[in-house]
């Protein structure tokens, strides 16, 4: 039988893999709007990791900043420059 500790570490490892996937996809994606969404996926996984590691203060600041404000600022910048990586604005 799985013990509670093993299950917690397993979920942590799974969330770590999801964040790794999100980061990789955000880096290789040429469409910057999609890249922001992958980056937000990575941030969501990190928010869950912080919660499992019993840091609710960090979760409360990480969720609005990394999932709300940071993608919004980057989307504003993408709107002002170019949507595709390597494009001239």
């Amino acid at each position: 039988m799985l013990s509670m500790e093993t299950l917690t570490y397993g979920i942590l490892a799974l969330l770590g893999v999801i964040s790794l996937l999100g980061t990789y996809l955000a880096i290789i994606e040429k469409d910057l709007v999609k890249a922001v969404i992958f980056s937000a996926l990575q941030s969501t996984a990190y928010a869950f990791i912080f919660y499992i590691l019993m840091a609710p203060d960090i979760v409360l600041v990480y969720v609005p900043v990394a999932v709300g404000l940071y993608p919004a600022i980057v989307l504003f910048l993408i709107k002002k420059t170019g949507r595709l990586d390597g494009d001239e604005p």
Binding site: V17, L20, P56, L60, P64, G68, L69, A72
Partner: protein, 275 residues
């Protein structure tokens, strides 16, 4: 063929990270990770943070993180707040002289469909309520001024996207007002930092800057509870003022970022041709 390349890259990344994690966990880097139990320093904070009998070290708040952030290492947090304030001042200086909404577009209305607008009206109120709860209960439960302020800043951002920037300016959330609110928050933080000194000076004794509870050499301090409810001295005031400062600061950044690019370029060209 191209898809396979990514699958191989992702698999190798996951495998190498897992191997590194495993090597670290079993002591492959030369030392064993600390045990998951509570360590000495953390234990010291946890027992002193709310202990009325230990008057010398207590912050009179059950929330260890807020106590550390605004009491034990309060001066660091003050400088963090100043750094954020200077960043906002820098962005305002870059965009100086540019009207966010030109006069001819003052009464222009646009935005998304009525369904989205109605839902946003409800959720914006809920976001503000949650943010206020996070900030005002920051000395009791996880959260605090910065967390609450960052959450509150999502509401004007949502209104900006759904109702358009013209609606925001028309409803009174202007750059000048947000800057005034932000400055008022910072003045409040500075005033709270010196509050124990001011009380002590009026009583003819001495106190420390950033003092919260009475110490052995400085016997004045802010009340730990007001009318039976725990307010943890300076902590609730710091959280309240930081909440306004952070929420207004982020809103200013979004107002400045929402200025259309052609208006900025026009204004810059105007400045260049004057010289």
């Amino acid at each position: 063929m191209k898809g396979w390349k990514h699958v191989i890259a992702i698999t190798s990344l996951v495998v190498s990270t897992s191997v590194l994690a495993l090597a670290t966990a079993i002591g492959g880097l030369g030392y064993i990770l600390p045990t998951p139990g509570v360590r000495d320093l953390a234990y010291w904070y946890l027992v002193t943070v709310l202990s009325p009998s230990n008057k010398l070290f207590t912050a009179m708040s059950p929330e260890a993180v807020t106590s550390i952030v605004w009491d034990y290492r309060g001066l660091d947090t003050l400088f963090e707040t100043s750094v954020f304030f200077l960043a906002i001042i820098g962005s305002i200086a870059l965009m100086r002289g540019i009207k966010i909404v030109p006069e001819r577009l003052r009464n222009y209305s646009s935005g998304m469909s009525p369904i989205v607008k109605t839902v946003t009206r409800i959720t914006a109120g809920m976001i503000i309520a949650v943010a206020a709860s996070i900030a005002l209960h920051g000395h009791l439960t996880p959260g605090g001024g910065f967390q609450g302020g960052a959450t509150a800043a999502v509401a004007p951002l949502l209104l900006m996207v759904v109702f358009s920037i013209y609606f925001i300016i028309k409803s009174g959330i202007t750059e000048e007002r947000m800057l005034a609110l932000r400055t008022a928050g910072l003045v409040g933080i500075v005033f709270t930092a010196f509050s124990a000194c001011i009380i002590a000076a009026s009583l003819g004794t001495q106190a420390y800057v950033f003092q919260n509870q009475p110490k052995s050499t400085a016997a004045v301090g802010l009340p730990a509870s007001i009318m039976g409810s725990l307010t943890s001295g300076t902590l609730i005031f710091f959280n309240l003022f930081e909440f306004f400062a952070v929420a207004a600061g982020f809103t200013i950044v979004f107002l400045l970022l929402s200025i259309p690019e052609n208006i900025v370029k026009q204004a810059l060209r105007g400045v260049e041709s004057e010289h």
